[in-house]
């Protein structure tokens, strides 16, 4: 509460000399602080304090089970740099991200273009495309686990009908990540379709009419009008997709538990395993910081690239 009274005091000192508005502003200021206080307290306790704490813990050897806790400097970071499992988990996250970013972005833009023009069934199609977004991660992963099942999953059924070789996606280390990728895209496209749709609706229609008068084809219109004017939306979608993809964890937890043979163990899964199964709190948090730094760096580079594209 000291902040409230301090703010009120400094208000009374610096407020202009006319008496009435000053008291009025002071009352408003106190009320304002009361209104902000609950969420501000939550912000400090559950976001900023843990962030500082995380920074401190990442320099410690902190084991919750043995209740050991000692400062070890950069040792966590140093050993992570040569930790094969951690580096492999980063590779898996990047594998997922590099495949998902272009495919998912292209499909969601495609879907948005398909349903942009209003006709009778637009609403229905939009709802159908969006439904996977509402399905919870655990349920989606569970159902896909069955769909991939070699004996009775429908995916192999379809493959068989098309005379393609059947496979149990998830038990083969070489293909398991593809299983995760397909599920990720299935669940992700609808969300970004909506964002693209909003972006498309912001493009003035008369630009297209002018282009048509000038004899531009649909394809020319797409590359000369739609894509350039959609640049900010695309930037947002690509950056968000990148962040989400690199931080992938939930789907992997349920679909593969990181298996087979660690082939789908992503960085966040590794962090969870270190911190909450092996109880190496310091080591896990240091890994989280490295991941955070990587994600931040990539986002900044992407922002730069999209801004350059705009000019």
């Amino acid at each position: 509460m000291t902040s409230v009274t301090a703010a009120a005091e400094s208000a009374s000192k610096t407020a202009p000399s006319s008496k009435k508005p000053r008291r009025f502003l002071r009352g408003e200021e106190i009320t304002a602080w009361w209104f902000v206080l609950p969420s501000f307290a939550l912000l400090l306790i559950f976001v900023f304090y843990p962030m500082l704490q995380a920074f401190v813990i990442s320099f410690q050897n902190y084991n919750l089970v043995g209740s050991t806790r000692s400062f070890i400097g950069l040792d966590n970071y140093k050993s992570l740099m040569t930790d094969r499992d951690f580096l492999a988990s980063l590779r898996h996250s990047f594998h997922f991200a590099i495949v998902v970013i272009p495919i998912q972005t292209a499909i969601s833009l495609g879907l948005a273009l398909l349903i942009q023009k209003k006709f009778k069934l637009t609403g229905l199609f939009r709802t159908l495309y969006f439904i996977p977004v509402v399905i919870s991660t655990a349920v989606a992963a569970t159902v896909f686990k069955l769909i991939y099942n070699k004996e009775f999953g429908i995916l192999n059924n379809v493959l068989k009908t098309l005379h393609l070789p059947t496979t149990n996606f998830l038990s083969n280390p070489d293909t398991a990540m593809n299983g995760v990728i397909m599920l990720g895209i299935w669940k992700g496209v609808g969300f970004f379709m909506i964002i693209f749709l909003a972006g498309l609706n912001n493009i003035p229609q008369d630009l297209y009419e002018a282009a048509r008068v000038d004899g531009a084809t649909k394809i020319q219109q797409f590359f000369r009008i739609t894509l350039p004017l959609l640049n900010r939306t695309t930037a947002f979608v690509v950056i968000m997709t990148t962040i989400d993809a690199i931080k992938l964890s939930g789907l992997v937890f349920v679909l593969t538990s990181g298996g087979p043979n660690g082939a789908t163990e992503t960085a966040v899964y590794y962090i969870y395993k270190m911190a909450f199964q092996q109880m190496q709190m310091g080591y896990g948090t240091a890994a989280a910081f490295i991941l955070f730094a990587i994600v931040l760096a990539i986002s900044l580079v992407q922002m730069r690239l999209f801004r350059n594209a705009e000019h």
């Binding site: 813990i57 919870s136 299935w186």
Partner: protein, 279 residues
């Protein structure tokens, strides 16, 4: 040519729509059939891949009333937690959004910037310290750990602030002159004017909490208190073989949410559009 193009377009749209919903339809139909049937008709593409031959509700009965996996209880737990979190999120964040939109106070710009900067702090980094904090408060294995840290929604503040800012100042001035306190003005003028964004925030918060998996997995140990998503995930790895029961459990946890979404989808979509505007 034009006709051909539009037929092609419809075909593509339909195929994509089928891919979007087939897993869900398959889940629902699988939950309605006996275990043996799941295998029997799966060797080739035929109508019974989706239409049960002998429809049964036995899977649901077993899943709901079984002693080992009382799914009704998990659903009740999750409804309780997600419901309370939603109410508190609406209250706490609408209050500060109002202050940011309409009240004058020193340090407003800085405090608001602090809130917005929290959007880039990833939950993965603060996971361990937050767990330790719960441990320190003695909230592990209690719903306090699920409810209290979830009460803050920076996105909610951002969303509501924009709607509150559009309320004309004259109305608030008039209320003040009539002697209404700020709290009174807030609850009887500002909130009623912001029902649509409040529904958006409520829906997004509720679904987010209904879906939450990692945090409850970490902070809740007592099986009886567990949330639905963790229960489903555990069930599908433990009972590894009884797939039709797993499908039934997934179905009961999904269908109510789907219905809720179908009725309120325009609010949900509005919320996503807003999150895109931010970028």
């Amino acid at each position: 040519m034009n006709r051909f193009a539009s037929i092609a377009k419809y075909t593509v749209m339909t195929v994509l729509a089928v891919i979007s919903i087939i897993p869900i339809l398959w889940m629902i139909s699988g939950s309605l059939r006996p275990y043996e049937e799941l295998f029997k008709y799966s060797s080739s593409l035929n109508i019974h891949l989706f239409v049960p031959v002998q429809p049964t509700l036995a899977n649901f009965k077993e899943v709901i009333f079984s002693e080992g996996n009382p799914f009704l209880r998990y659903i009740a737990n999750t409804l309780f937690v997600a419901g309370i979190v939603t109410l508190l999120v609406l209250l706490v964040n609408s209050m500060s959004a109002f202050a940011f939109a309409k009240l004058r106070f020193r340090g407003k710009a800085i405090v608001f910037a602090l809130f917005m900067s929290a959007m880039i702090i990833p939950g993965e980094v603060t996971l361990v310290p937050n767990y330790l904090l719960m441990n320190y408060f003695g909230w592990l294995n209690s719903y306090k750990a699920l409810v209290i840290p979830s009460m803050l929604s920076v996105f909610g503040i951002f969303l509501l602030r924009q709607f509150f800012a559009e309320i004309p100042d004259e109305i608030l001035e008039a209320a003040k002159i009539d002697g209404a306190s700020m709290t009174r003005t807030f609850s009887s003028i500002v909130l009623p004017a912001a029902v649509p964004p409040m529904i958006t925030l409520a829906l997004m918060t509720f679904l987010g909490n209904w879906d939450s998996y990692l945090w409850p997995l970490i902070v809740i140990n007592d099986e009886k208190k567990q949330m639905i998503q963790v229960a489903i995930a555990t069930f599908s790895s433990v009972e590894g073989t009884d797939w039709s029961k797993i499908l039934a459990a997934s179905t009961i946890s999904t269908v109510p949410i789907l219905i809720l979404f179908l009725f309120l989808q325009r609010y949900y979509i509005q919320g996503i559009t807003m999150s895109g505007v931010k970028g």
